[in-house]
């Protein structure tokens, strides 16, 4: 009988040790920030001449017509003989 009480005690003891405590988080409903009073710490730097690099515009030139030879005319002249 004592053994049975011991087992029951161990079983319930283990159950209690695994059970987690329930955490309830509470948020502030309203928060007021005064931006006027805020201060930013740092140093203001003006960019020098060399620091600005404008992107060079790429020029796409179209290949315009150019006569390479007069082979068509050479053939045509013979075809126009007879």
């Amino acid at each position: 009988m004592t053994k049975l009480y011991l087992y029951i005690f161990i079983f319930f003891g283990l159950n209690l040790s695994f059970a987690q405590e329930k955490v309830v988080e509470k948020y502030v409903k309203r928060q007021r920030v005064d931006l006027g009073n805020m201060e930013i710490e740092g140093e203001v730097l003006t960019p020098g001449d060399l620091s600005i690099q404008g992107d060079k515009r790429k020029r796409f030139r179209m290949k315009l017509y150019d006569r390479e030879n007069f082979k068509f005319e050479i053939r045509n002249d013979v075809l126009n003989l007879r």
């Binding site: 515009r57 020029r59 796409f60 030139r61 179209m62 315009l64 017509y65 006569r67 390479e68 030879n69 007069f70 082979k71 005319e73 050479i74 053939r75 002249d77 013979v78 075809l79 126009n80 003989l81 007879r82």
Partner: protein
């Protein structure tokens, strides 16, 4: 006894066979004689096409040609020209060793791009023959197309022989023919120099060709290309402006419009380029569309033959049609072939009036029909070529227009402008070499200066700040 009988039977049968062969031979000889007789008879009656028909029937039957027949063939072809040869099978013609036939076959295979055969037939024309310069031109041109440097010697032979034959020719038409062949050979030299970037030397050869030459109007464009590459845009524009003169109004060459636009573009005269392109799309494109619809409607080659043979009706008052007709009438091929056709028509009319046999008349009708088709097809091809040219020029003009817009946009983005809105002409901007004319217009005939025009436009390519300008 039995053996004797068999022997007699065998001998008699063999004699019978021999006599049958003899009969056939006799018959063949008699038809050969008949054909030849008929050919001679028609030749004497000046019915050259009919005579040619009987002579070719004879050659086909005999699978060859005798010396006597060949002589007759030469006489006949000197009267008919080479146009009737298109009626006969080239395989039959290949059996005949005759300069007229060789020249015809050289042209036939050149057209088919069988250059090996074309050169072989052209080479068989002896130097004593009247067609020698033309045959040399065919060989020279073929080698030039194949980038073979040997072409030079053939062109030299062509120029030399054509010059010699021209000075010895009594008839004006022969003189014109030899001059045309010589000019063609000279022009091919100039074209070769152009392809090798030797523009100044090329121009010197073009300048040698007289303004009275048939090919001269076409050379203006080629010469203008030389000046364009030499960066003498003013001279190039001046040459192209020659086409605007009343004497050359029938020579509308679409490619000249591209070159004009390119010249203005390279002088940075963007507004002038844009105006020229606009004019092209407004005027010429519409006219070419009309021509295209007309060509689509009429596909019968005989219809196109009438352009050469008859006066243009009022319905065809398209300026391109007029221009093409005038250009075609000055082509050697059309002149020779149309001359052959007219002779055949006369032959037909004469025989019809005499009451010739139905068979003979039908043959001549057939010959005329084939001749009409051949000439008409050539006219038709020329029309198609012209329409294709217009389409090609339109696409190139569009590219130039895009470039002009792009350049103008660049100026705007960079806050710049060109030095002048419109560069005015000045004599200071005209370049002139020692062999180029300068007309003071004192006692000169107004057409003398054709082909010697030059613009005096200043290059507008200098960019300046917009603010400075204002």
């Amino acid at each position: 006894m039995k053996t004797y009988l068999i022997l007699i039977l065998f001998i008699s049968s063999s004699f019978q066979g021999y006599s049958q062969e003899e009969k056939k031979e006799k018959k063949a000889k008699s038809t050969t004689k008949l054909f030849y007789k008929k050919a001679v008879k028609h030749y004497r009656n000046k019915s050259y096409n009919l005579s040619l028909y009987f002579l070719f029937s004879l050659i086909k039957k005999n699978n060859g040609v005798s010396k006597k027949e060949n002589k007759l063939l030469t006489r006949l072809l000197s009267q008919t020209g080479t146009l009737p040869l298109y009626l006969y099978d080239p395989e039959l013609l290949e059996q005949i060793n005759n300069p007229y036939i060789s020249l015809h076959l050289a042209n036939h295979y050149f057209k088919k791009k069988d250059y090996k055969k074309s050169m072989a037939y052209a080479s068989s024309v002896p130097d004593s023959n009247k067609f020698y310069p033309e045959a040399r031109l065919i060989i020279g041109s073929t080698l030039q197309l194949k980038n073979d440097p040997k072409f030079k010697s053939y062109l030299k032979q062509c120029i030399k022989s054509a010059h010699k034959k021209s000075s010895g020719a009594f008839a004006k038409k022969f003189k014109l023919y030899y001059d045309l062949i010589r000019e063609n050979c000279q022009i091919n030299y100039a074209r070769e120099l152009y392809s090798k970037d030797k523009y100044a030397r090329s121009n010197a050869i073009y300048t040698d060709i007289p303004k009275t030459a048939f090919s001269w109007p076409y050379l203006l464009l080629e010469k203008a290309w030389n000046y364009y590459h030499l960066k003498d845009y003013n001279r190039s524009l001046g040459l192209l402006m020659t086409y605007e003169s009343p004497l050359l109004s029938s020579y509308f060459l679409p490619e000249a419009e591209i070159l004009k636009a390119l010249n203005y573009y390279n002088l940075c005269l963007y507004n002038d380029t844009a105006i020229l392109i606009e004019k092209f799309f407004k005027v010429y494109k519409q006219r070419s569309l009309n021509l295209r619809s007309f060509v689509k409607k009429n596909k019968d080659p005989e219809y196109y033959f009438n352009f050469i043979d008859k006066k243009l009706s009022n319905k065809l008052n398209n300026s391109y049609v007029k221009s093409l007709k005038n250009q075609l009438k000055k082509k050697l091929k059309i002149n020779l072939h149309y001359g052959s056709f007219k002779k055949t028509r006369k032959e037909y009319q004469r025989l019809k009036a005499k009451g010739a046999s139905k068979r003979d008349l039908e043959f001549l009708e057939f010959t005329m029909k084939k001749m009409k088709q051949r000439i008409g097809r050539h006219v038709q091809e020329y029309f198609y070529y012209f329409i294709n040219q217009i389409n090609f020029v339109a696409s190139e003009m569009f590219n130039i227009r895009l470039e002009v817009i792009s350049r103008k946009k660049d100026l705007l983005y960079n806050d710049k402008t060109l030095v002048a809105k419109r560069a005015r002409g000045s004599l200071e901007n005209v370049n002139r070499s020692a062999d180029e004319f300068f007309f003071t217009f004192k006692g000169a005939f107004w057409a003398d200066e054709l082909g010697d025009y030059s613009f005096g436009l200043k290059s507008n390519c200098k960019e300046v700040d917009k603010n400075n300008k204002e």
